[in-house]
């Protein structure tokens, strides 16, 4: 066992052990610190994988594609745990959560980290499915943690739709195995990514097509693509805000990553249908639908949940277009959206605590009443709306230009969707951030470091991307193919 193998094993063991410890620790202050500590260790382990990575094993794998997402996931996991520490202290104070709930919450947070790391590291389509299922379960439990009517309803809806989604994904996974079996024989090898990809050209193409349809609907539900998105706004709005940040920033990415892996299989098989048009259509429908829906939102967290649907749509669209440039832009957008959206949820979490409400109509003049928080939110929304020179502008620009070169009509539809969403976001931002402050408001004890760290990264990425990262992303974009 080499050092790198050990690192990969530890990436799973650290969150698992932390979850067990957190389930037993009664003191929430210590728990919050331990939660942060475990997330930090996982982040460091993830970073060390960029330097040296292990050879692909039977069950676990580190390659160019997943390493990007592993670093992103562990980073946002760590910053969110820091945000969560200040967020839950307030929830405990006002009695929305009890110490027993917090024990459960912290343990589940680490189980979620474990599940997402496992899903990303898995070199086996069955194992990956189990990990996505575990991640779904933990988030369901966390969404329902407030036990209010709305929270329970959101958790139930998420649960039913998420379960149906992953059930269909499993059927797709079984079909992939059935397609692969004549070429690969039996045994665990025949479900390993590395082997599947090598043998993909000889799979039965028709069966592979059928499998992809199930996988697209199944994992697509977890990505939140319209019309399978119904669970997403409720789950984001009713759960604790750190969970909204992790859901939007990470879990949606993990589900999309699973879909991308299967797309690679189809792309490697000459007889299979091109998965691109399917993904382009679902992506575009999501963008257009979500950007119109943004206008009707009255709940601030729900609004940003719809914005997540929009951005996942943009990313799916980019990968559906395929080709080196669009894939590159899609990957970049994935990273930028994760960082920006979780930053926005950090801000929104403190805002809703300060104002005691999530209703947009009852929040006014944040930049006056809470300058740092208010301007942080303004910056986040400016970034997510795609204003230059921030990171999201760059990735959206790349997606649009690469589409214009190949399918101008699609590009026009995409731009229309982005602009409509842009209008809605600024309309609401103006209401919330400026004008006379109204209603009850408390000072917040927020830790601004995670919020501004994310925004700084997004700003830097918009102006300057280090050539090493560009080379890396390019390499992955090639790997993803058409």
């Amino acid at each position: 066992m080499t050092a790198a193998d050990l690192v990969v094993a530890l990436m799973l063991l650290v969150p698992a052990c932390a979850a067990a410890a957190l389930a037993l620790l009664p003191q929430y202050r210590i728990s919050a610190r331990l939660n942060m500590g475990a997330a930090l260790v996982t982040l460091l382990l993830g970073l060390s994988l960029t330097v040296s990575r292990p050879a692909p094993g039977l069950y676990l794998l580190v390659d160019d594609l997943n390493i990007v997402l592993i670093v992103l996931t562990t980073f946002v996991g760590f910053t969110t745990s820091a945000f969560s520490a200040s967020y839950i202290a307030h929830e405990l104070e006002i009695g929305r959560l009890t110490p027993a709930h917090l024990r459960f919450y912290h343990a589940m947070y680490q189980v979620l980290m474990f599940a997402m790391n496992l899903a990303l590291l898995a070199n086996n389509i069955g194992l990956m499915w189990v990990a996505v299922e575990l991640a779904t379960l933990t988030t369901v439990l966390m969404v329902g943690i407030y036990r209010t009517h709305a929270a329970l309803e959101a958790a139930w809806k998420y649960f039913i739709l998420g379960s149906v989604g992953i059930a269909l994904a499993l059927f797709g996974t079984i079909l992939v195995y059935v397609a692969a079996r004549p070429a690969m024989g039996q045994g665990s090898d025949s479900m390993a990514w590395t082997h599947l990809l090598a043998a993909a050209p000889s799979f039965d193409p028709v069966l592979l097509n059928l499998a992809f349809v199930f996988l697209l609907i199944g994992y697509g539900t977890k990505v939140g693509l319209a019309p399978l998105h119904a669970w997403l706004p409720d789950a984001h709005a009713e759960g604790p805000t750190p969970i909204s940040a992790v859901l939007s920033g990470l879990l949606l990415n993990v589900a999309l990553y699973a879909l991308l892996r299967f797309k690679m299989l189809l792309a490697a098989n000459p007889g299979a249908l091109a998965p691109g048009p399917l993904m382009v259509t679902m992506g575009l429908v999501s963008v257009l639908f979500a950007s119109f829906m943004l206008y009707r939102r009255r709940d601030i967290k729900r609004m940003f949940a719809y914005s997540s649907i929009e951005h996942m749509g943009i990313i799916t669209f980019a990968f559906g277009m395929g080709g080196a440039l669009a894939n590159f832009a899609g990957l970049l957008h994935m990273a930028m959206h994760s960082l920006t959206k979780s930053a926005i949820f950090f801000a929104v979490g403190h805002v809703s605590q300060a104002k005691g409400t999530q209703k947009i109509a009852e929040i006014r003049g944040l930049t006056e009443s809470h300058p740092v928080l208010g301007w942080g939110l303004v910056l986040g929304v400016v970034a997510i709306a795609g204003m230059p020179p921030l990171g999201i502008f760059m990735s959206e620009f790349l997606i649009v230009t690469s589409t214009f070169a190949r399918a101008p009509l699609l590009a026009i539809a995409l731009v229309a969707g982005i602009l409509i969403g842009f209008g809605a976001l600024f309309l609401r931002l103006h209401q919330v951030a400026f004008g006379e402050p109204i209603g009850h408001s408390e000072p917040v004890q927020a830790s601004y470091v995670p919020l501004f760290a994310h925004l700084a990264l997004v700003a830097i990425a918009g102006i300057y991307l280090p050539s090493a990262i560009v080379a890396w992303f390019r390499n992955v974009a090639e790997l993803l193919g058409g």
Binding site: G126, H149, M191
Partner: protein
């Protein structure tokens, strides 16, 4: 050749039995009889999986069969029965769509899955092929049941019958690795659902396990 014919016939019979039971689940209008039919559904699944284990000489599949038998055919129906009694849930079931149209839709779905699966698996071995077509029928009928029922418990039963179809497909795909792990993961999921119904005490909050009632508590409409 004769033994092979028997292998095939019994597998076919059991898988077909599951499709038939899925249809029976569709038209039940009492909660307890729904639970009984579901227990039977899981029992037939256990037999089908055990038969596959012996045909494929894959002893690990007996574990999956045992899980289906003990957990899904006995423990879950009993637990749900207790919940129904303890929470005093209405024993009559409401459906969104009438029985007639539902059955017609169900037949359409079975025809669809046969039309989809059989042509694309022409080269696979007949055992896996027929199993897959039946399994997809069970999955789609489970989905149909989840859509046409308003009551949370019958939605859960719809989901579990759907999941039985998936296990049938996974065991029918000869030599598929991780089947046992996947069925364990699924059992955990189902256990969570059942515990969830009970612990969250949906009734306490809503006075009913009718999902339609929950829809009223939408945050956005306030």
């Amino acid at each position: 050749m004769i033994t092979r014919g028997l292998d095939f016939d019994v597998a076919h019979l059991l898988a077909g039995g599951m499709v038939l039971l899925s249809f029976m689940l569709l038209y039940q209008d009492r909660l307890f009889s729904l639970l009984r039919i579901f227990a039977l559904h899981a029992l037939v699944l256990a037999l089908a999986v055990a038969w596959q284990a012996s045909v494929q000489a894959a002893p690990h599949l007996y574990v999956t069969a045992a899980i289906a038998l003990v957990f899904k055919a006995i423990v879950i129906p009993l637990a749900l029965r207790r919940i129904v009694v303890r929470l005093g849930i209405h024993r009559q079931l409401e459906t969104v769509v009438g029985v007639g149209p539902t059955m017609l839709l169900g037949m359409g779905l079975v025809a669809l899955s046969i039309a989809v699966i059989l042509p694309v698996t022409a080269e696979a071995d007949p055992l896996a092929r027929e199993d897959l077509a039946f399994a997809l029928s069970v999955v789609l009928l489970g989905l149909l049941m989840m859509i046409t029922r308003r009551n949370a418990i019958s939605q859960v039963i719809g989901f579990m019958s759907l999941e039985n179809g998936l296990v049938l497909a996974a065991t029918g795909a000869k030599g598929m690795p991780l089947v046992v792990e996947i069925s364990v993961a699924f059992s955990i999921l189902i256990a969570f659902i059942v515990i969830g119904i009970f612990l969250f005490r949906i009734r306490e909050r809503f006075d009913t396990v009718d999902v339609g009632a929950m829809d009223r508590f939408r945050g956005d409409r306030v």
